[in-house]
Amino acid sequence: MSDLVFLAASFAFFFVAGLYVCGCQSLKGGGDND
């Protein structure tokens, strides 16, 4: 049971990290690359 919890926790962390990537990208405004 514990193994499944830690498996889920690992996936959850990296899923959140993936969302975090999207969040960072969404902060990117236009006209900022000159």
């Binding site: 514990s2 193994d3 919890v5 830690f6 498996l7 926790a9 690992s10 996936f11 962390f13 990296f14 990290a17 993936g18 975090y20 990537v21 960072c24 990208q25 902060l27 990117k28 405004g29 900022d32 690359n33 000159d34």
Partner: protein, 599 residues
Amino acid sequence: MTANGWLQIAVFFVLIFLSAKPLGLYMARVYERKKTWLDPVLVPIERLLYRVTGVDADAEMGWIEYGAAMLIFSCATLLLSYAIQRLQGVIPIPLLNPQHLAAVEPYLAWNTAASFTTNTNWQAYVPEQTMSYLTQMAGLATHNFWSAATGMALAIAFIRGIARRESKALGNFWVDLTRGTLWVLLPISIISALVLVSQGAIQNLKPYDTVKLVEPQSVTATGTDGKSTTTLVTTQTIAQGPLASQEAIKMLGTNGGGFFNANSAHPFENPTPLTNLIELLSMFLIPAAFCVTLGKMVSSPGHGWAIFAAMSVLWLAGVLTCYWAEAQPNPLLHGVDQRVAQMGAALSPGGNMEGKEVRFGVANSALWATVATDTSTGAVNSMHDSYMPLGGMVPLVNMHLGEIIFGGVGCGIYGMLIFVILTVFIAGLMVGRTPEYLGKKVQAFDVQMSMLYFLIFPMVILGFSAIAVLAPSFGTSSLSNHGPHGLSQILYAYTSAAANNGSAFAGLNANTHWYNATLAITMLAGRFLMIVPMLAVAGNLARKKIAPPSLGTFPVNSTLFAVLLTGVIVIVGALTFFPALSLGPILEHLLLRSGISFA
């Protein structure tokens, strides 16, 4: 402090200075896929690896794709480590588990998997009593290579972001990972391991030896029923294992996880003063070379050396403070026996010898503690918990600054480059111009991501430390000392985890559900949640045009720049962590001088 001690410190730094340029230029060639003398051997292996794994080595990645590949790789290797630890007791290869060690407990296994994946190598266990040879080799030593090569790949991606113009790509993560491992980490590790073996480091798969003690010892222990029993101990178990191969990459990859619990204070891990020097050099070797790699790849060697200078000044300040603090006797030890060790005698310089390996002495211990926490290594050859308060504060401060004083392999230079962006931004504000960094305008998104990078770090350290300090049942119950030293123990644990250092202040029993779980989360957050904004900055910089330098451009290869950079690093670090430090080691120092200590 002795002249001999300072001479050894000076020799160490001169060797690092001399090695930085050749290795840095070689690394630039490796990552730019130019010819090197190892190509005839390694290119066929590289091609085979790409064919087997289906990697298109010529495909370039944007920052999101690069980051996603890194996250997927890290997740997969974390789970692999976890599985090996959980299955070590049932894998039917007796040679790889001659002590018949059972499966690692789930909380500890997850903590360890997160620890080695993030290059932290925090160890809440006694390796020789917990990990089989299979786990040491396939579950942990492999991570020493992978996590180091990942850090190096990310640093190269950041440098490409600075060097490239109007590009969406930062390179290919799989290629950078492979080339860093094959061309840089493996060859140096092989040479280093052979030298370690020649000096007495072990490399075998033997069961542990049992030997007769020359002097049998009487040991008195008190049982749970309160009764004391005295036993005559006549034998000792001497742990064995494939150590030298792991030791070499442990130091070179700035990983730091010991094969044995005593880490580099163990005579098998660090047998002679020569191995001590080699291990010290291994920690700074690649991080120092990265300054030259940066200068070469961005076509501004002076910028790389300016960063090298700023790092060197901060390193010197740390080692000077630590050596000075540890060369003093502990004022609370007034006994005659202690005075001999502490105050010095004809053949001993004295100083705070508690927790020091007498083979290495105060100078090499202070140098090691500084270097291991300037970088993300975290290996120890003396016990930091036994340092004087200000001596122990040096490792803490080194980590609080973000481990950018040479830093971990790869993560040191990209952490420093985020500081560079902040410095350039502040310099731009001072003169009222849009800040530029090597011809690229530093704009809102770059600064937002840089600030995110800086804020995550103290948030996880101070947040979890505050909870632990306020929780007697699961936080302070693990402490061996109370008062300011207890705060230092907790603060050190979360700092070490977030900075991906892995050294322990000792004294704190971290093998509990609370500490195993929260330290694992801290390690993961300290690694990956800081990498993402860093990559976002790199991706954004790569897309920009390069403007030619003008009269208003702030030169980043000048002494003024190095001074300003050093100032920004100190001010940001001091402002963030000074309140916590003042309640921990600084208060402890003042109380110690007044004759007050805490049990």
